[in-house]
């Protein structure tokens, strides 16, 4: 029985290895985020007024609805929106960036740029994004 399992496991490894070799030059389309840079809706809400909510979704989705008090900061108009966000940011504030759902990448990219380009500390990505916020608040 153990031998059969080993044979099946070995056979299953073959296509996996082939795929790994074939796609070795492909990079993931999602930006990597360390677990310490993620935050849940409950954690972020507990921060109260010390948090600035940033909406990384496109303008039309932000216009439709957004977290109350959130600022729009998307990469379509980054150069225009960034100064408006920086005028509101203060030392000691935590920044919570969200996009539409668990699978979106815009919040990760926006958070990465805020950390790297503006060199802001305490920038977090909201787990589950806008969908998660809606579930907890509507």
């Amino acid at each position: 029985m153990a031998r059969q399992a080993a044979v099946l496991a070995a056979v299953a490894l073959l296509p996996a290895a082939g795929e790994a070799v074939y796609f070795r030059t492909n990079i993931s389309w999602r930006s990597a985020v360390a677990p310490s840079e993620m935050v849940t809706v409950d954690q972020a809400r507990a921060w109260g007024d010390t948090a600035i909510w940033v909406d990384a979704r496109p303008d039309d989705e932000f216009a439709r609805d957004h977290v109350p008090g959130a600022l729009s900061l998307n990469e379509d108009r980054w150069n225009e929106l960034l100064p408006q966000f920086l005028a509101v940011w203060s030392p000691g504030k935590k920044v919570v960036v969200y996009c539409s759902s668990l699978s979106c990448n815009a919040s990760r990219e926006a958070a990465r740029r805020l950390r790297k380009e503006a060199q802001l500390p305490e920038v977090f990505v909201l787990e589950g994004g806008w969908e998660a916020w809606l579930k907890k608040n509507r």
Binding site: E75, D76, E80, P83, A87
Partner: protein, 254 residues
């Protein structure tokens, strides 16, 4: 031992029998848009090499910045076509990877992921693009580093502060690098200024922000230093605008 091996072999044969009939010329496209390009467009060509028509059930892009179009809903046996993926660059920089997921009726849950990779050239890399002092801090000079992208040649840059509250001086650091030394007149009151950075012989303009912050609880009006008007008001500092993005197809995540 014979039974599981037979089952495995049978399942492999069934998988091969149900192979996709739509054959893609390529599922990965790499693009190198020019510095001022607004869009990067990828063409994914296919041919129906099967004996039955193939129907597209859905074509979804991974973000609102990308739209995807099919030429037709049904692909007859032997027919060729392409899916066009248009990536709106906006203010994005560096390596951008966007995907388009194509679902057809070839087999249950038959999905093909098309990948569009675009290398957006960056003329100037500005780090940090934000310098600040807390109200009452010593008005020391802070430095913004500017690095010229490897595809570009920039010998000089010009930096202008939108308000006289900050002084910005450029220092050439060699090897395509510059230092912008920013110094506030004083840190007595909360003010902000946009620094406009323009490479010599270039129409492209870059921005950085300098600001005196007034503490964590009382944010100031965006770019409205004492006695000045907010953005959009006559006489207010100009804020750059990016092209509007197109409407995203349904089913996307942003």
């Amino acid at each position: 031992m014979k039974t599981p091996l037979f089952a495995f072999t049978l399942s492999m044969i069934m998988c091969l029998g149900a192979r996709a009939e739509l054959k893609w010329e390529q599922t990965n496209v790499e693009l190198h848009p020019a510095p001022n390009d607004k869009q990067a467009i990828g063409h994914f060509k296919y041919q129906n090499v099967g004996k039955t028509p193939v129907h597209f059930k859905s074509v979804k892009a991974s973000c609102g910045c990308t739209t995807a179009q099919t030429q037709k809903e049904e692909v007859a046996p032997g027919d060729k076509g392409e899916i066009t993926a248009t990536f709106n660059i906006g203010d994005r920089t560096g390596t951008q990877v966007k995907t388009v997921t194509v679902e057809t009726d070839e087999a249950p849950n038959q999905k093909t992921v098309l990948t569009l990779k675009a290398e957006i050239p960056q003329q100037l890399e500005i780090t940090p693009n934000f310098v600040f002092w807390k109200q009452g801090d010593k008005p020391d000079t802070k430095t913004i580093n500017v690095k010229v992208g490897k595809e570009f040649t920039v010998k000089h840059i010009k930096v202008t502060s939108a308000t006289p509250n900050f002084e910005a001086k450029v220092e050439e650091a060699g090897n395509g690098q510059f230092k912008i030394n920013v110094k506030p007149q004083d840190t007595n009151k909360p003010v902000a200024s946009m620094l406009t950075i323009q490479p010599e012989d270039s129409q492209k303009v870059f921005y950085a922000t300098a600001r005196i912050t007034n503490g964590p609880t009382a944010p100031m009006m965006p770019f409205a230093p004492a006695g000045q008007k907010p953005p959009g008001a006559p006489g207010a500092p100009t804020v750059p605008t990016a092209p509007a993005h197109p409407t995203a197809p349904s089913g996307q995540t942003h």
